[in-house]
């Protein structure tokens, strides 16, 4: 199947692309909800991008459980919604890798109020990728990664009861 390019079609196609682009820029400038072309900063991404980030301290499940309930500490869960629904550290903010931008913005607003954020995924690496991204974004809070992720937390039998985290109890399953 040949695909001959004709000049007239090419010029018309370019005019459609250019016209669409100009209309888009005009519309974006006119809308209050438009995106900033120069100062745009995405809310979050999960996969590590280029850029330098310092080491992020890993905390054990035991250390994390002692911090749970402290008013200045927040837990952030990076696992998908289904896994989060099955079980999570109580009062954890859900910040999944597949979060929509709007969802991520909402989660980040909550995280901004914390002095320490303990991030966890299914494993340590999952949480670390998000923690590094948040660090690059200049989040002021101290970032920690839960060693072993939620898997280790669940294996230890640790869980926060539902409700506000300051009232929650760190419980250990009785044999």
């Amino acid at each position: 199947m040949s695909f001959p390019l004709d000049r007239a079609a090419l010029l018309r196609a370019l005019s459609l692309l250019l016209g669409g682009a100009i209309a888009g820029l005009g519309l974006n400038a006119a809308r209050p909800s438009g995106v900033s072309l120069l100062g745009f900063e995405p809310p979050t991404t999960c996969s590590a991008a280029n850029g330098q980030a310092g080491p992020i301290i890993e905390v054990s499940t035991r250390e994390a459980s002692l911090l749970c309930g402290h008013p200045s500490v927040l837990f952030a869960d990076t696992r998908p919604a289904a896994e989060f629904a099955e079980g999570h550290v109580a009062d954890a903010v859900h910040l999944p890798c597949d979060a929509t931008a709007r969802g991520a913005e909402g989660a980040l607003r909550k995280l901004d109020s914390a002095q320490t954020i303990i991030i966890y995924g299914a494993s340590s690496d999952d949480g670390r990728a998000v923690a590094e991204t948040l660090q690059r974004r200049g989040l002021k809070a101290e970032l920690r990664v839960l060693g072993g992720g939620f898997r280790a937390w669940a294996q230890e039998g640790l869980a926060c009861a539902s409700g506000p985290c300051r009232d929650c109890l760190v419980t250990k399953e009785q044999p």
Partner: protein, 157 residues
């Protein structure tokens, strides 16, 4: 020279299918441009251009879609060419995501488009093929006659 009926039918199906798709996806993306910019940024290809692409791509898609649906033959052909080129770029982007193993949402239909997988790649390749087919179907009648006579001359019939 008139179109063969099945070709005319196929042409209209491709025009309405591709054109409708572009208008709808463009409008969805236009609904939340900052969110779309984030989706583009997540591809980690040209993050600096994410806001510029987010501001311009939705209206480009709508312009191409409108040309495909309501344009006269030369504009439909131009729309098909532009759509094919744009879809080829989208395909390259999703292929790169699959190859690099990045876990991101597609952003193809605005927010909540689902993750990029091999299925996304297959769908995009099919759309590129549809655009190319429409471009070929919308050749000017004179060019078609010329091509046909050239073929006859080549075969000596």
């Amino acid at each position: 020279m008139k179109d063969v009926p099945w070709k005319a039918g196929l042409g209209w199906a491709l025009r309405l299918g591709l054109g409708g798709l572009f208008v709808v996806t463009g409008a969805l993306k236009l609904g939340d441009v900052p969110a779309f910019a984030t989706e583009i940024h997540n591809y980690q290809l040209f993050p600096r251009f994410a806001p510029l692409l987010a501001a311009t791509l939705p209206t480009i898609e709508i312009a191409l879609g409108a040309a495909l649906i309501v344009g006269r033959r030369p504009w439909v052909r131009a729309g098909a060419l532009g759509s094919t080129a744009l879809l080829a770029v989208f395909t390259a982007a999703v292929v790169s995501v699959v190859v690099r193993g990045i876990n991101i949402t597609c952003g193809c239909f605005g927010e909540g488009s689902g993750p990029v997988t091999m299925l996304t790649v297959v769908r995009d390749v099919a759309l590129v093929a549809a655009g190319a087919a429409l471009y070929r179907l919308t050749r000017a009648p004179a060019a078609k006659a010329e091509a046909a006579s050239g073929k006859r001359a080549a075969t000596g019939s």
